[in-house]
Amino acid sequence: MFKNKLDEHGVIVRNKARLVAKGYNQEEGIDYGETYAPVARLEVVRLLLAYACMNGFKLHQMDVKSVFLNGYIDEEAYVCQPPGFEDHKHSDYVFKLKKALYDLKQAPRQWYERLSNFFLSHAYERGKIDKTLYIKKALNDIILVQVYVDDIIFGSTNQKLCE
């Protein structure tokens, strides 16, 4: 899939290309199970901003490049060879996927799963109602990490905790 990124004057600044799977061919129960993935509410981002301002701590932000490629998939899924990149010796072969591709129905969920496991294994707690908020407390300090799909905002009352 190809896409041209435009700036505000409509001039092409970057060309993007991305390999995508044909998610519309997937069948529920066979190719994917659950597809639900939580996303943070916008209010929560504002709430965190206001809270950080009031307590005077710094917030950092980062984003994850080509997020959905990071998830591991549990189901068996195959894709055919992408046009233009066929193997001439084995043109009838297909690829078995180990990690997620864009447009797979389970991709967002698998990404959330992987990130969530990472935080939980590093002694973070998940928010009580907001499952995209991760908290770690240490003595009087607290570190808050808010995940909005591929954008991550984090801040702490103690700079050292932000690593």
């Binding site: 505000e8 409509g10 916008l42 209010e43 929560v44 504002r46 709430l47 965190l48 901003l49 206001a50 809270y51 301002c53 009031m54 307590n55 005077g56 928010g127 009580k128 109602i129 907001d130 908020l133 908290i135 407390k137 607290i142 808050l144």
Partner: protein, 197 residues
């Protein structure tokens, strides 16, 4: 740019005070795709601009059959934005935290189905963190009922924010909820009376 409005005149309000939009079936139709595109862009802006929330949501109701009058109203919002590009949310630092919820409704503002639109907003001291504008799901039989519905959704949001803040490590004990008190008092008195008998 997309809507050829970059050189438009500025206007100080997003909507005229006597603005009254209905389905306007006799009006001339406008391009639906373009209207939807305009509404989509405006809805995106409501994430950071609470001031246009109501007017955008009102215009968004006519997407299935947009007419000249709706398009004019939507373009007025663009004119308003043209003059107010410098405003934004302001979050002051190092002040104490307290949460206040406000709610209001528009006295059956929708003349098509006689429903009211409730609006709520929440301020954390002086930082505005949440707002919403939504047409109520049922026809209220009294102003007090409409007020009650609005206050209810405001309260739900307050509880959510309270929970979220407790995750941040801050526990609030009291959250004032502000609305026009006279009608609600009457309901409360009635409920009390029912309870006593």
């Amino acid at each position: 740019m997309k809507f050829d409005m970059e050189n438009c005149k500025e206007i100080s309000t997003p909507m005229a005070t006597n603005c009254y939009l209905d389905s306007d079936e006799k009006g001339t139709s406008v391009d639906q795709t373009k209207y939807r595109g305009l509404i989509g862009s405006l809805l995106y802006l409501t994430a950071s601009r609470p001031d246009i929330m109501f007017s955008v949501c009102l215009c968004a109701r006519f997407q299935s059959n947009p007419k000249e009058s709706h398009s004019t109203a939507a373009k007025r919002i663009l004119k308003y934005l043209q003059g107010t590009t410098t405003v934004g949310l302001w979050y002051p630092s190092k002040v104490s935290l307290d949460l206040v919820g406000y709610s209001d409704f528009d006295f059956a503002g929708c003349k098509i189905d006689r429903k009211s639109t409730s609006g709520t907003c929440h301020l954390l001291r002086s930082s505005l963190i949440s707002w919403h504008s939504k047409k109520q799901a049922c026809v209220a039989l009294s102003t007090a009922e409409a007020e009650y519905i609005a206050a209810g959704s405001c309260c739900a949001q307050s509880l959510w924010i309270k929970q979220q803040l407790s995750d941040f490590g801050l526990n609030l004990s009291k959250i004032p909820l502000l609305f026009q008190i006279c009608e609600i008092n009457q309901i409360m008195l009635n409920e009390l009376a029912a309870f006593v008998t």
